[in-house]
């Protein structure tokens, strides 16, 4: 167990290292950061001075080591546009992104799993077919188009809800609904297929043969085992929630991480983009690791990568 955790943590660290290396290289390729910072009247001496002060005259591997060392101390560079630490800038936006993401996470799980169980129990009956068609449509709709349709109906025609900004709780409704559709569809479909598989297993038939009530068989025996793949997907959703949605936040002018990313791209504010990429990747890796560890707790039969 301890060995499994250690190996898993080492792998996560290694993956993160790869991500950092990649973003560092991309950052060096996006153009000369000094040329963007200097006024047009600057001389060659100014250029060299800033170059030296930023450590950009060091060889690339040295620069990378400095970058990693700074990153470990929480210094991910300064925003070119705002002239503030990039990490502060991103951290400020996290609560706003979570405001959208947490309701999505809670509703997609709390509604998606029961709905998945219900469709599995009514397999091929009209209710199942209706839900399956709706979820297929939900998976096929691009988020920005859902957002635009919602704006058109509830904002433009009915005038019930505000369509952009983040001033009142009412502003939350449309972006949350937009973000909700895809994860909800995924959770329903996944729970359904996983339940259908669990219902054919020997232990479920045994439970039925023992004369246990249908409720107990479904929820105690089948669902517990069927939930394992669902846990992974919900885990991935947690990571997505933290990194925010650039597209949906743009549609609704919601000032979270996603919108910051899009604006930073417009302003070529590479340190900020880099920070967002790193935080998203770190969230993804850590959540994934936790999910894997959780599995090991739920079901020790699952092979650990150490014994692979």
């Amino acid at each position: 167990m301890a060995r499994f955790i250690l190996v898993r943590m080492a792998r996560t660290a290694l993956t993160l290292f790869g991500v950092v290396l990649l973003t560092f290289c991309l950052g060096r390729l996006t153009g000369d950061p000094i040329a963007m910072m200097l006024p047009q009247t600057a001389t060659m001496e100014d250029y060299e001075r800033i170059r030296a002060s930023l450590g950009l005259n060091e060889p690339l591997p040295t620069q990378f080591i400095i970058y990693v060392a700074n990153a470990l101390r929480g210094d991910l560079g300064r925003s070119i546009v705002f002239n503030r630490p990039a990490l502060d800038l991103v951290a400020e936006r996290i609560p706003l992104t979570l405001q959208l993401g947490l309701p999505v996470l809670i509703v997609s799980t709390a509604v998606g799993i029961p709905l998945g169980v219900m469709t599995a129990r009514q397999r091929n009956r009209p209710f199942d077919q209706l839900v399956m068609s709706l979820t297929l449509a939900g998976q096929s709709l691009p988020a920005f188009f859902i957002g635009i349709l919602l704006i058109l109906v509830f904002g433009v025609y009915l005038r019930w809800l505000p369509t952009f900004g983040s001033d009142t709780p009412a502003h939350l409704v449309l972006p949350t609904l937009t973000l909700l559709i895809y994860p909800l569809a995924i959770v329903v479909r996944l729970t359904r297929s996983s339940m259908l598989e669990a219902l054919t297993t020997g232990y479920v038939r045994t439970a039925q043969a023992k004369g246990l009530s249908e409720h107990v068989v479904i929820y105690r025996h089948a669902l517990r085992n069927a939930l394992i793949p669902v846990v992974t997907v919900v885990g991935l959703q947690v990571a997505t929630v933290i990194s925010g949605s650039a597209i949906v936040e743009t549609v609704f002018a919601w000032p979270g991480i996603g919108l910051l990313a899009v604006q930073s791209i417009g302003g070529r504010d590479y340190p900020v983009i880099q920070t967002i990429v790193l935080i998203s990747a770190a969230a993804f890796c850590v959540v994934n690791m936790l999910v894997d560890l959780l599995y090991f707790v739920i079901d020790p039969r699952i092979q650990s990568p150490a014994s692979r």
């Binding site: 790869g18 996006t30 691009p142 920005f144 635009i148 650039a246 990747a281």
Partner: protein
């Protein structure tokens, strides 16, 4: 990621057929859905292929005298015009060409790359496996849209960059699924027999393993075309896809956002076509998956 996540990625299928209860009575209805889907897909592909012939106007032609015409008001602009008087029908037809080109080419490139790496990874195991799966992990951890944006800042906006990025977004999923399939295939009797007869590794990989991967590849490929078309439209929506004035559905939806209250058709019409295309491809992918009994995401 580990074996556990791989196995769950593989169980992400929507409806695995039950071995005990063959769904006989639903066959007919399912077939009808599939036939309709194929018909719509053929129609959309033909429309995109024949865009030059079918379009009443050039998609880039500006005509300010007929700007923001509603659909079905002028016979020469059946689906109306946008803010600079460009014909919506012509733009939708040409935009479809971009979506399908990106979807098909990116899927093909990603499929070849992912299959090759997946087979190598699963067949040889060892350090090759470690390195390839490490790259897969890194790829999965990166937020793709932001990465795509950063890359397009470096390389500029073009169709080739877009296809390359979309291909890059899919290879890791293929590699992971194919690796899993190969891991179980390589222990099967026919592979052991071939090896004991002295077949080379390359021969086994391409003559024994590859044909057995046809099912998963077909399903993965179909589902991924739809996903890539969505991705392309999303990138075009953010303004990093196809360079205007070349029309793309995502770009058209984005341009229409400023006119939502006055001209509903600008965003909704390309959106409906986009949704239909992805829905039809998804339906076919689901059907293939159930028919071939393949478990992929």
């Amino acid at each position: 990621m580990t074996e556990t996540t791989i196995s769950t990625l593989k169980t992400l299928s929507a409806s695995a057929p039950l071995p005990l209860t063959p769904p006989k009575p639903r066959r007919l209805r399912r077939h009808a859905t599939v036939i309709i889907s194929v018909a719509i897909l053929t129609l959309l592909c033909a429309a995109a292929l024949l865009a030059d012939v079918l379009s009443p106007h050039r998609p880039e032609t500006i005509n300010l005298r007929v700007r923001l015409t509603a659909p079905l008001t002028l016979p020469e602009h059946p689906l109306g015009t946008d803010a600079t008087g460009r014909d919506i029908l012509s733009r939708i037809l040409h935009g479809g060409r971009v979506s399908l080109t990106v979807g098909l080419l990116a899927t093909a490139i990603g499929l070849v790359l992912g299959t090759l790496l997946g087979i190598i990874s699963g067949y040889f195991r060892g350090w090759a496996d470690e390195i390839i799966m490490y790259l897969v992990d890194v790829q999965f951890a990166l937020p793709f849209v932001l990465l795509a944006v950063a890359v397009s800042l470096v390389l500029g906006r073009s169709l080739a960059v877009l296809i390359g990025l979309a291909a890059l977004s899919t290879w890791s999923l293929y590699a992971r699924v194919i690796r899993g399939e190969v891991l179980s295939l390589r222990e099967r009797e026919f592979v052991i027999a071939a090896r004991s007869l002295g077949a080379s590794d390359a021969y086994i990989m391409f003559h024994h393993l590859l044909p057995n991967l046809a099912g998963p590849l077909l399903v993965l490929g179909t589902l991924s075309i739809g996903r890539i078309i969505l991705l392309e439209s999303g990138l075009s929506f953010l303004g990093i896809g196809i360079q205007p004035p070349t029309p793309s559905w995502g770009g058209m939806i984005n341009e229409g956002r400023d006119y939502l209250s006055s001209a509903w058709w600008l965003s909704t019409l390309p959106g409906i076509v986009l949704m239909t295309l992805v829905l039809v491809i998804g339906t076919l992918g689901d059907w293939l998956r159930d028919r071939l009994d393949v478990k992929v995401m």
